[in-house]
Symmetry: D2
């Protein structure tokens, strides 16, 4: 069973985080994310399905994108008295609801902690920001491994007891190293990947294995200053505000669905150095917000946009 397996594999939380919280309260819930062509009656049909099977809806959020006439919904319900067994819910939902409405859906059990891999290069600010959230128990996630193209972050990984793999990437060995990365990710049962200022571009082949499951932080307010050295470009342009953007990674550089953005004021008194310093604060917060939304299963990417449920 997926649930117990995942719990069994759980990375120990070194500082007394609260990984076992789910066990203690043991309120079992399910979350479903759906999208389909809009048509009358979807909400009524889905809520009736939950209700008539004795599920109690905890939260429901729906959205219709009129520009493409598409319906989106996130629904969370209590499984306590739900008549359909956990491992059959997906089948029943597919047959009874998804098929007739031509619906795409993902079903999650939030008590099951997702498994997140971190890719990092030489900078520690995003890494520490995520590890400290995890360690304190604020993030219900497992972190089975950290991969880097440089050895610099190894001591930090070590302190948190997380396996660290240094795989230096050159033009020549890139394909080979990516194959090794995929192998490590699969062995670790990785659900999604966070690029915490990882300074290598992943190949399209790699990305196709993790669609909408690789989250990157770009250090600009996209689409402004895509590509390399965005702070330099922003400084040259004389902007009065700089930003950061977390997004799902696609084959097109810095062009994937945007998850979260934020900005901070700069002025003529700022130098390139202070752009970079102020930007680092943005980067870590904007990345962590994006990752936390993903962990909570509040993100739904469609086309090049995201629906961010509240």
């Amino acid at each position: 069973m997926l649930f117990s397996t995942t719990f069994a594999k759980r990375t120990p939380s070194p500082l007394g985080g609260r990984p076992g919280r789910g066990f203690l309260l043991f309120i079992m819930t399910a979350i479903i994310l759906v999208h389909c062509p809009d048509q009358p009656g979807i909400v009524a049909r889905v809520t009736e399905f939950i209700h008539s099977n004795r599920g109690n809806i905890i939260s429901l959020e729906q959205h219709v994108d009129r520009s493409v006439n598409r319906f989106f919904m996130r629904l969370k319900w209590d499984l306590d008295n739900f008549m359909i067994p956990r491992d059959r819910i997906s089948d029943y939902f597919r047959t009874l609801i998804a098929a007739p409405y031509r619906m795409t859906f993902d079903l999650y059990f939030p008590e099951t902690r997702p498994r997140m891999a971190i890719f990092v290069s030489k900078m520690s600010h995003c890494l520490y920001d995520m590890l400290s959230r995890w360690e304190s128990g604020d993030w219900q996630v497992d972190i089975p491994l950290i991969i880097s193209n440089h050895p610099d972050m190894q001591p930090i990984a070590g302190r948190f007891g997380i396996p660290f793999h240094c795989l230096p990437v050159t033009r020549e060995n890139k394909a080979e190293q990516e194959a090794r990365q995929v192998e490590l990710l699969q062995e670790a049962g990785t659900d999604f990947i966070v690029l915490a200022r990882y300074m290598q571009v992943l190949s399209t082949g790699f990305l196709l294995q993790y669609p909408n499951r690789v989250i990157n932080i770009h250090h600009s307010f996209l689409p402004a200053f895509a590509g390399a050295k965005p702070y330099h470009a922003a400084y040259e342009r004389g902007v009065k505000i700089i930003g950061a953007t977390s997004h799902y990674v696609t084959g097109e550089l810095d062009a994937g669905p945007i998850i979260e953005q934020d900005v901070i004021r700069v002025s003529h008194r700022d130098s390139l150095d202070t752009f970079i310093r102020k930007g680092k604060d943005l980067e870590k917060i904007v990345l962590s917000r994006g990752v936390f939304l993903h962990i909570q299963r509040k993100l739904l990417a469609y086309g090049n946009r995201t629906v961010v449920f509240g």
Copy 2:
């Protein structure tokens, strides 16, 4: 019928706003705002009611406040093929849904423009901000009258063709002037009142006639600096950010349900004068955002809080 009456009374929009837009497109819709004790099945029951009567849900947003175990919902649907006549919807809904669920509800037809009175004293910034939105057609609202305790704003009202009533208020004549205000408001068919930096406190007796229908702008980040001279107090305290708050007015000064807040940075370089100047920009934007939410029927006040639907 309320609907045709309101259209007939519509204040002419002097600069080619779009008051008649509703007639042209003539998509008739209904909005219902409800709240009740939370219990299983509410969403399923309400959506089934709409759907089975051939209404098409345009948007649905629900919220449960776990701290008081209360359910809130805003639902908008298309009346095009709806089988229940407009003027019977309220009755049917009350009988079939609201009664069994002990639900409080308000039903609106958004093509009916609400009628808004403005109270103002000597400052024009909030007044202009609202009148220019109305004139351009951005706000689907009628403004049948402006009331002031000073004559200063009369020329502005005149330019926009809106009746202006100057009712100076003293300690002695306050009850009498409020009675005159209520008379004028009732004659004009006023739905709600906006205090656009109106420098008089309304009596509890007055406010009871317009529960959650009087919107004020307070020039501080409430609950900081409630009462008189908030910019002076903020300057004295040496804050680094100042704010403004739009809220429904209750009998307790500056303590009603908050609708919207926003802030702006200040520094040691700011004087009291620049606090006031920067604050005026906040005031007008925060008030207009709050009023626009009310016009769109996106606000639901419960206890001392508001649910602000998206």
Copy 3:
């Protein structure tokens, strides 16, 4: 003499603004904005010049841009006991300070109200925002004329008693109409021009006559979404924040020195319509902030950047 002429021509402020304030208090001050190659001793030399001539410094702000090794300063001082007559200050400063330090400078007497022309097309939000600030006396500026390529805003200009010139621009008559615009601007003694959502591109020839004296509002967070239809582009890209930018206009479209920017959050719940509506609030505030900085002589453009004094 420029000073008395400008006062004589002053546009009357229809609602009791405070145009005569300078006369009443009659604290005469001067502001000088300078920039030059950085070198030791500039501040000491300039402040000694003011002090030894019995000027009292009210504020001094200096900045060195290390990336180009250039010194910038804004200095305001009291002329009360200043030994050099007003109309000789420029000469003396040039000879004694500016020449030896290879300094570029502008000298202003802030009691002299600058004369601002507004260019507008069909939208009123920026126009009202500026006119209401002017009318209330918050802006110490004269507005001798409004120019438009459409007649729509004429009634608003009329209400504020400001001459309105409708000069429709086509590809064929553009040069001719620009010549007429320049003629009107010169007759009115225009110091600077504000493009309040004016939907025509001004020619380089026109702009050369008003270097760093034409302020535009662009409805995006530049350099993202330069050019036409930025809200459409932002909506398509799925951004989570939209912005507006006020900047000096140069021959290169949307690429001039940025004065001020601000942003507001959007979400998947926003449509193109609500992008536009939220954006209008940004546009008017960001434009007015930029214009006010210019009126206060707090802006110094150098290369493609601005120094914004506090």
Copy 4:
């Protein structure tokens, strides 16, 4: 000599931070922060003092608070060719400038790293935020000790190689434990103290030894929600924005000079739990910004306000 002593005591930076940077570049500079009654000629006199002794001014920022008629200045200059020896600058400045102008001043040599103690209780988010900045070399500061009333953070201190002292505080032993704290702080040569969510109130006696040298983070937008449980109070009040405030600690609870504030939006969808979670991000960023300003000697507290130099 203070300079070499401090360098000798420097805490080693475990992950390759850049503590020795000053030695490598060896650009020796001085910073002076001054305030005095405003009067003509101060800037001219001070800049002439620096210039005539062959100091090159790197940056100068002055401010006059008109409400109390007081002059403030921060001046940084290059000591390379400065004719007055480092250890005599203070004497000369006092005699020649400070005395005649009744000036209060502080002289710093920024290549000397200040020594910062951290007080913490059970939460790690602010602690990690500061330690990661220090470790990466972004903060030029030494951290000789961490003091806590609980043992929970000891492992984190250990990983960063920083001495950790657990001094549980009860009503009975408070005076005794504070005496022990002061002893430890003095032994460590502590320049200033950061309360990183330290949940004990320091006595006035303690604070008098560190005037404007104890920085606290309060988890509200002061002066709103001073005292205990600010998130609970904010949630009860139904605010739409929450904040955090870093400030110097004085004998009056949460009433000391404010250094920095920031805010984040909340909505009816937020619970008390999400207020706390969102607030933690604010707390760590607002505290770290305040501490960094202090480390850079950019803060000057006067009365109950701070001047924050740019």
